[in-house]
Amino acid sequence: MVPEFVMPSLGADMTAGTLAKWRVAVGDTVSHGDIIAEVETDKGIIEVEVFESGVVQELLVREGEKVPVGTPMAQIGEPGAGAEAGAAPVAESVAEAGAVAESAAEAVVVAEARAERVTPRRPMHRGGLLREGPMASPAVRRRAHELDVSLEGLHGSGEHGRITIEDVQHAAEVGPSPSVSRDRVRISPYARRIAADRGVEIERIRGTGPGGAIRADDVLRAEASRPAEPVSAADRMQRAIAAAMTRANDEIPHYYVEQTIDMGAALAWLRDFNASASIEERLVSGVLVLRAVARALRKHRSLNATWQGVEAVPSKEINVGLAVSLRGGGLVAPALRNTDEGSLTELMARMTDLVARARSGTLRSSEMTAATITLTALGERGVESVTPIIFPPQVAIVGCGATVERPWVVEGRVVVRPVMRVTLGADHRVSNGHQGARFLSTLESLLQEPDKL
Amino acid sequence: MTLDISRDHALELLRDMIRIRRLEEKSAELYSKQKIRGFLHLYIGEEAVGVGAMRALRMDDNIVATYREHGHALIRGVSAGEIMAEMYGKANGCSGGRGGSMHLFCAERRFYGGHAIVGGGFPIAAGLALADKMKGEALVTACFFGDGATDEGEFHETLNLTALWKLPVLFLCENNQYAMGTAFERHVSDRDIANNPPAYGIPSDSVNGMDVVAVERAVHNAAETVRETGAPRFLELRTYRFRAHSMYDAELYRDKEEVEEHKKEDPIATFQARAMSEGLITQDDVDAIEADAAQEIADAVEFAEQGEWEPIEDIARHTYARNLP
C-alpha cells in the first residue's frame, strides 16, 4: 500500500486549499507528525503534518496550486518502493470499502443515513477509515487531479455510483457538469421559477407535461401535498431530529436535576455476574441503568406519560427509550417495551437486538412512538455530564455521563469509588423539581441493590 | 471661339473648379492617413460639370446628387469644413457624421443628397418636383446621375412618369464613360444616351462636360425651359474621371494611355489657359486663387479635426422623429 497525503480539511468551511510550500522533497524520509507542507486557507497559512512514516515518493501538487480538500498531494511509501507499484492495491481496497458502505445503503432509513453520513473522526488519517466525499478510488482521484477534474458533483457510472477513471476522463473532455441531476429535470421555466419561490423541490415533483415535463400545475399540486419527502433518508432523519429538538426547545419548559451516583455496587455485581455467565449472557452496565430507570418509574408515575397538546396522558406500560447514535450521524431513540419486566439477561438480549436493528434501519414503528422517557448514555468517550433535551411528546429524559473513579465519603471516610453523574431533564408542565429529585433518589437506591434489578 | 464671359465670371469659374480639385486631393491624402474611411469617390476631372451646372441653377432649385458629390455640395454652398467634417464622421459634418462621403445633405441649400444606390435618386427627384408642382412653385429639380444609372429601370420609369405628369425635373447625366469599371459601350445599347429621353417625349441634348462655360450655358438654358414649361428636360454632360472609381482600384478596365489622353482635356488646365490667353486672368490671379483654396482646405481640415464625435448615447437619434420606446 502506498498511502497518500491529501489536502486536509483544516476547518468545516474549507473546501479547498492552496499549497503554499512543500517542506519536503521527493526522497525525503518523513515520520508521523512531521510538518510536510504549508497550506494557505481563507484563514491564513497553516502548517500541515503528515500522519504517515516513509519516504516521499512523489509530489502531486505544485506550490501555488489550489486543490479541493481530499485531493492527493503526495505519495509516501517504503524506501525504494515505486509509487505506481503501490497504487493499484490501494485502489482496490478503497473500492472494497465502497462496497461495504453500499450494502448498507440498500437498507432503509437508518442505514442509508449512515452510508451517506459517515464521517471519520480524524479525516486526515490515511484518507480516513470511514469514507468521505465522492466515492472514488485513489487511482481515480489521482487521474482526476492530473486532468484537473473536480470529483464533487461528478456523476459516477460505476457500481452504486462509484466514480470510475472513465467518468473522470469523460468529464475532462466535456468539461464540468455542475448539478447533474438538477439539469436533467425537465421543467418549464415558469414552473422552475415558482418552485423556487415556493420552496418546492423540483426533484420531488411528478411532471405531467410532454415527456414528463414539470409544469406550473405540477408544482402547485406538489406544494399542496406537502410536506414533501426530504431528499435522502439521512436528510429526512436530520430534519426530523431538527424539528423535534426545535419544538422541544421552544415548547417544553425543561427543568434539570442532577445527582452523582455511586456505581461501586453495581459494577462489582456486574463483574461477578459476567465472570460466571456464559459469554452470550454477558451484560453491559448500561442495561443496569436502563432497568433502574424503568423500576424508578414504577414509583414516579408523573414522569411516565406523554404530553398531548394540553395535558399529560399517563402511560399504562413502562417503555423506556434508548438513545442510539448512528456512526454515520443521526440519532434514534427506540423504546424497549415493558422495560421494567423480565430478567436482566432477557433485557440485555432485547437491548442488543434493538441497537442492532436501529443501526440496520429495521425498527418497528411502535418502537418509535411508545417511549415516555429516554435514557441517553454518553459516557463511553469520557463525558461526565449530559444536559439532554426531551424528545416530544415524552415528558422526561435521563442523561448519564461516564463512570469515573472519584474520592467519595462513605461512613465518614474518604474512599475511591466509581461514580456516575445522572441528569434528569423533565417537562415542568407535567412534573416539578421535587418530583424529579425524588425520582433520582429512587434511581440511586435501585443501583445500590443491583441483584434486585 | 472666345469664352465670351467677364473677367469676374472667369475668375469665379476657375476658382470653383480649383476649390473642388484641391478639396478632392486633400481628401485622397486624408484617406491615406485613415482620417477619412469607407468609400471615397473623387470628382477630379469632372469639375467643369459640377461648377457649370451649379452656377446655372437658382438657389431655390432642388439638387439630387450621387455618391460622387463633394464638388456639387461645395459649389452649392455647403462649406468645405462641413464636408470635410462629414467625411471625418464628426458631429459637425453636414450630415452630423451619419452619412459620410456618399451622403452629404443640406436642407438649407436644398441639397437632397448624396445617394449611393445607383438610380435610387430618380424617383426622389420626381417626387420633389411633384411636390413643387402641386404647391404651384416654379422650381426646378436638378437630378444628377452617371451613365451607369441610365441602365436602371428607375431611369426609364422616371423619364416616363415625369413626362406623363409633366414634372419639372432637369436630368443631368454626368457621362464619365464608366459604370464603375464597365465602359460605356459595354453597358449601354445605344451609344447616344441622349436618344433615350425623346422616346418619352423629353427633349435632350449633349454637351462637352469638360468645358465649364458650355456646361453652364447648356444647363442654364435647359433649367429655364423646365421652369417655364414645368416639364422635364435631359442633358448629357460628357466628361471623364481621372482617378479610380473609388479611392483605390487597380483600374484594370482602362489603359493608362486612355487616362493620359483625357487629361489633356483637363477642365481646369484648359479653361485657365484659355482665360489667360484671352487676357481675362493673369498668373497672379491663379496664384491668388490657389492660395485662397489652400487656405480654405486647411481651414476645413482644422474644422474637421476640431469637431466632436457624436456621443454613442445618441446613436438612435434621427432614426425616427421621436425615439421609439
Binding site: A216 | G120, L130, L161, H318
Partner: protein, 324 residues
Amino acid sequence: MTTYREAVRTAIQTLLREDPRVFLMGEDVGRYGGAYAVSKGFLEEFGEERIRDTPLCESTFVGAGIGAAIGGMRPIVEVMTVNFSLLALDQVVNNASLMRHMSGGQFEVPLLVRMATGGGKQIAAQHSHSLENWYAHIPGIKVLAPATVQDAHDMVLAGIEDPDPVFIFEHQMLYGMEGPLDTESTPPSPWKAAVRREGKDVSLIAYGGSLHKALGAADELEKEGIVAEVVDLRSLRPLDHETIVQSVSRTHRAVVIDEAWKTGSLASEISAILAEEAFYELDAPIERVCTLEVPIPYAKHLEDAAIPQVDRIVAAAKRSVGGA
C-alpha cells in the same frame, strides 16, 4: 355597421378634405376606384391632381411619394398589394427609412404607404404573400396591421399624422368585414397592442387577418374549458413588448399566429421576445402557427392547408395547455 373598406375610405376622404397637402397615388386608384374599391368616387370629388393614377412602376411612384413627402406634401401611396411592393423595396429600404438618419435629421419622410396583404382568395402563389415581417425588420419606418374596422380607419389618420414613413398592411380578406366605426372619439394609440379577448389559460397572439382566426379558435377552446386570451399586435413596428409579455405573464403559455412563413417570421420575433423577456413566465414551449413552408397553392384545399386555420390554432393551444 361599416365595412373595413369603407372605414379606410372614410379616413382617406377625411384627410383629403381637411389637408391640402394630402394626395393619393397608386395604380388604378383613380378611374378604376382602387383595386379594392377603397377610392371609388375620389377622382370625381378631388380631381386628377390629388387622385393620381400611376404608371406601373412601383419603385418610382413609391420613390416619388418619398420625394414629395420630403418636399412638404403628405402623400398616401397605395401599392396595390404587398406582392408588387417588392419592386419598390429599394426605395423603402434605402430611401424612406434612411433619409432622416443619413441626413443627420435634416429631412423627414411623412409618407403613408398602404397595401393589401395575405392569402385566402385562391389567387395563387404570386398574389398571396404575407411579407409584413420584411418591412417590420427595417428601422426608420413604422408598420401597422389593422385587424378591425375601427383600426382600419384610425390607422390611416395616425399614419398621415406621423412624421415618419408608415406602412399599413390591410389583409385582403378583411375589406368586406363589417364592424362598428366611431369617427368621433379619440382613437387609442396605434402603436400599442390590444387584448381583444381576455383569458387565463393561453395567449393567442395574432395580427391582421389572423386575429379573426385566433378569436374563432378562442371560441372553440372555450367549449372545452380553455379560456384563451387573444392579443392583437396592431403595430408590427414598433412591437409592443409590454402587452405581449404582460399577457403571457398572466397565462404562462403562448401561441403565436402569423400568416407568414414560419422561418424568420414575426412569430419568430415574438417568440424570441417572450424567451428574452418572459422566460420565467413560460410554462410550456411557445407554439407558432404559421404558413407551411411552401408557395401558397391555388387549389382551395391546398391553400387552406397551407395557411393558418382555426383548427391548427386550437390544436396548438391544446398542446400548450394540456401537454397532449
